[in-house]
């Protein structure tokens, strides 16, 4: 994939060299292929969203978008390459709130440290974290689970797909807010491993997302007992919305929010095309249908609203980090 694209560009090298010297002309943007960087590996929940977005965006912009997976560092490598890219509108990328806000707080040397250091284009979706137990578990619902965890500190194990991913951070938030001591077990091979651990009885519960869980719930191997958001969650209407319970403010709820971002300093006309095009994509019927199938919550937001949302999360993460350092788990 990258091979062929590189060769194409090399063949047109002469023409492009001249073209690159000129500033990007907005009226005929895009003049060449746009690179969309996915900081997560191919396959997995992010891939489906990224490819759906690119497919629709290609039509809106009347151009070609190449999805490139640049993985590593919990998303920081791919996001870093977008933030550092030339702001000509030909490199944009996908980023989640944990990579954008949490990672700079714990990693040094990243290309950005605050939301102002990059240009958000649109909010794609949020995915609330779900809590699931095995179908034959004695825990019947969220209230049961909470009682269980409070009665047995450090014994109830909850699997998550990776350290300091949104699901992990969410469960740590719950530990902090409810003053419980769940043992959160990170499985680095992705949600598949935590699913197997739950089915095999090695953990008592797991925190994950709809796409990884739905098939198992349908097969009656698992039950989703809680969803960490306010209000009913359509794909699993029986799951208790924890955001509605007393003692859990909305600060506790950290859905994984995914955005499209670009480097700071893109020319206004190019930026406008990207922002408006993206908005068109996320409000289109096709995207809505896709979101429904995948259990995504659509929440279209423009650049300024995204900045505000990221800023709100900064405070939450700072408190969480203080708590985690104090309780070195």
């Amino acid at each position: 994939m990258k091979n062929f694209t590189r060769r194409q560009i090399a063949l047109g090298g002469g023409a492009l060299a001249g073209g690159l010297l000129l500033p990007a002309h907005a009226d005929n943007y895009p003049q060449r292929d746009i690179t969309f960087v996915n900081p997560w590996s191919a396959g997995g929940s992010t891939d489906a969203i990224v490819r759906q977005y690119s497919k629709l965006m290609e039509k809106v912009l009347a151009g070609n978008i190449n999805v490139e997976n640049r993985t590593g560092g919990s998303g920081t490598i791919g996001v870093g390459s977008v933030v550092r890219a030339k702001p000509d509108g030909y490199t944009i990328g996908y980023a989640g709130n944990s990579t954008l806000v949490y990672q700079p707080m714990v990693m040094k040397g990243l290309a950005w440290s605050k939301p102002e250091d990059l240009q958000p284009l649109v909010k794609l979706n949020s995915m609330p974290t779900l809590l699931a137990v095995r179908a034959d578990s004695p825990v019947k619902d969220w209230a049961d689970f909470l009682k269980d965890v409070q009665a047995k500190p450090n014994q109830v194990r909850v699997g998550v797909a990776g350290l300091r991913t949104s699901a992990d951070l969410e469960m740590q938030q719950i530990n902090m807010a409810a003053r419980t001591k769940m043992r959160i077990v990170p499985f680095t091979g992705g949600s598949g491993e935590s699913v197997l651990a739950l089915l095999g009885g090695r953990v008592e519960a797991m925190a994950g997302y709809t796409d990884g869980l739905r098939g198992h719930v349908q097969a009656n191997a698992m039950r989703v007992i809680a969803v960490f958001q306010k209000g009913r969650y359509e794909p699993f209407p029986d799951a208790t919305p924890v955001g509605d319970q007393s003692g859990f403010t909305s600060a506790t709820l950290l859905p994984a929010c995914n955005y499209v971002i670009g480097p700071k300093g893109m020319p206004k006309e190019v930026l406008d095309k990207l922002v408006n095009g993206s908005r068109q994509v996320v409000t289109s019927d096709e995207f809505k249908a896709f979101a429904q199938r995948a259990g995504l919550v659509l929440d279209p937001m423009g650049p300024n609203e995204v900045r505000a949302e990221l800023q709100r999360v900064v405070g939450t993460y700072e408190t969480l980090i203080k708590y985690l350092n104090a309780n070195k788990s």
């Binding site: 891939d47 490819r51 040397g109 350290l163 198992h216 896709f290």
Partner: protein, 497 residues
């Protein structure tokens, strides 16, 4: 519906023009992608993913599966002919495959690979059909402590994989383990030994290391010794085909390879690329001709190549039976299903019988296509060897550079080639073996990960490593293999037979 009905239904679906073409193109693309070092089945599948959106999901899956097992076959072609492994899994094929080429038996080796791939792939599909539910249940019995036992055992067992003294294997393996610690640690996210170079965060790119170790080191060796590359090669059909003797000797290795490959592919823990290594090690332990391994024994090619096709097909089991993808390739397939609105899960077989049985039937057909595609090509590949060395070697160097760069678009990987090539050259001169280094690089991080996960799960309690019966049995099997191998050995054919 019963398995037989399902299969017949599946053939009806797989034999539509659209699906036949998809299978053919997939196998072809996969073979090409496999032959090119660096670009692997993952890259190939990612490339065609957008194209599959316009077709129905069954067609898309058929094409992707075709690329996957096609690449397993293609990777061995360059491994055998020029000691350049196309994939990690083909690295072990370099050992005997390249020696066979130097003996003038390249055509035979390639044909045996084609046959073995067919046998492994087909048997594995049979396994999927009949054993999926059993395999899923078995997969649930293995967790981090069990995988730790298995993979640590694997490290120890594979250390003797290339023969030689214990040190010849353990020392490079340790180097491999050390190299594997560079980069971001999986469980805690700590960056280790990257010295500020962020590109090193994912660790050393495995394919680049493998190419450097086998291909570049070998090229350096050829230049240093000014050897003639390969004896003048004839392309008479008789010489291209394996002799009766070679077929006979390949029979049992293919059978053993199928079993090993199927098990390693179906179980989520061990990486499927290790299936070929496991098969080679098994041949080393039980084959009548094991003393010839390393100098061009056909067993060293028949077993591993059968195993890796069996494994490639078997990795689909967790996806098809449980909706859990293990590895990036099956994850991509799952992604494509989800875009079509299909939720993979344990009910996939029940809710989407067309998809499931269509895919299975198509894999049978695809394996046949692979053989038909590749056996005639053997002559073409072999004639490449007649190119004079002063043109051939620079071409190979170019190929390896493009291959290494194509994995991550990173110059770092290209710089790795001469670096690791030098390491490999020195190791060779000192009579150390290189395959254990690859094993250390692959298994090291996994052993560490499972160790930590086990301890986190048990809250620091070490007894978790022997508390489940599956773990105990695994340890016993590992110890048996390690020690009984010395005590009870099947009769070896005398060296001057």
């Amino acid at each position: 519906m019963s398995s037989f009905d399902g299969l017949m239904h599946g053939f009806a679906i797989a034999c539509t023009m659209q699906n036949l073409i998809a299978a053919f193109l997939g196998a072809l693309a996969g073979t090409l992608v496999g032959v090119l070092p660096g670009l692997g089945p993952l890259g190939g599948i990612a490339l065609i993913l957008p194209i599959t959106y316009s077709f129905d999901p069954t067609t898309g899956l058929i094409a992707m599966a075709g690329i996957f097992y096609g690449a397993m076959y293609g990777g061995s072609t360059t491994a055998i002919l020029i000691n350049v492994p196309g994939e990690v899994a083909s690295a072990i094929t370099c050992l005997d495959g390249y020696q066979l080429t130097r003996k003038g038996r390249a055509g035979a080796a390639l044909t045996i690979v084609a046959a073995g791939s067919f046998v492994g792939g087909t048997a594995s599909v049979l396994g999927i059909m009949l054993l999926s539910p059993a395999v899923s249940r078995a997969a649930l019995m293995f967790g981090p402590p069990e995988y730790f036992a298995m993979l640590l055992g694997g490290l120890l067992i594979f250390s003797r994989i290339s023969g030689g003294t214990l040190a010849a294997g353990l020392f490079p393996m340790t180097i491999g383990l050390l190299l594997a610690t560079v980069g971001q640690e999986a469980v805690t996210g700590e960056q280790r030994f990257i010295f500020g170079i962020n590109e090193l965060s994912p660790g050393f790119t495995l394919v680049a290391v493998v190419i450097g170790l086998f291909a570049v080191a070998e090229i350096m060796h050829l230049v240093a010794t000014k050897e003639d590359h390969i004896a003048p090669v004839s392309i008479k059909l008789r010489d291209l085909m394996p002799t009766k003797e070679e077929w006979r000797r390949s029979f049992w290795p293919m059978g053993r390879g199928t079993l090993v490959g199927f098990v390693m592919g179906a179980l989520p823990g061990p990486p499927s690329s290790m299936s070929s290594f496991a098969s080679y090690r098994l041949e080393q332990a039980v084959s009548k001709y094991r003393h010839e391994l390393g100098t061009g024994a056909i067993e060293g090619v028949a077993g591993p190549e059968t195993a890796n096709n069996a494994a490639a097909t078997a990795t689909l089991i967790p996806l098809l039976a449980m909706g859990i993808p293990f590895g990036a390739i099956t994850a991509l397939m799952m992604s494509s299903l989800m875009i079509h609105g299909i939720t993979p899960g344990p009910l996939l077989m029940v809710n989407y019988p067309d998809l499931f049985w269509g895919l299975i039937a198509s894999m049978y057909i695809g394996n046949v296509m692979l053989v038909i595609l590749n056996v005639p090509l053997v002559g073409v590949w072999v004639s490449l060897l007649r190119v004079p060395q002063y043109i051939f070697l620079p071409m190979i160097v170019l190929l390896t550079i493009i291959g290494a760069y194509s994995v991550n678009n990173s110059m770092l990987d290209v710089w790795l080639l001469p670096l690791i090539g030098c390491v490999g050259f020195i190791l060779n001169k000192l009579d150390f073996r290189m395959a254990p280094m690859v094993i250390g690089l692959v298994l090291g991080p996994l052993v560490e990960k499972h160790l930590r996960e086990s301890l986190i799960l048990s809250g620091g309690d070490i007894s978790t490593f022997w508390s489940s019966s599956v773990a105990v049995v695994t340890w016993i099997v590992v110890l048996l293999v390690l020690f009984l191998g010395y005590l009870v050995r099947p009769k070896e054919v005398a060296a001057d037979d």
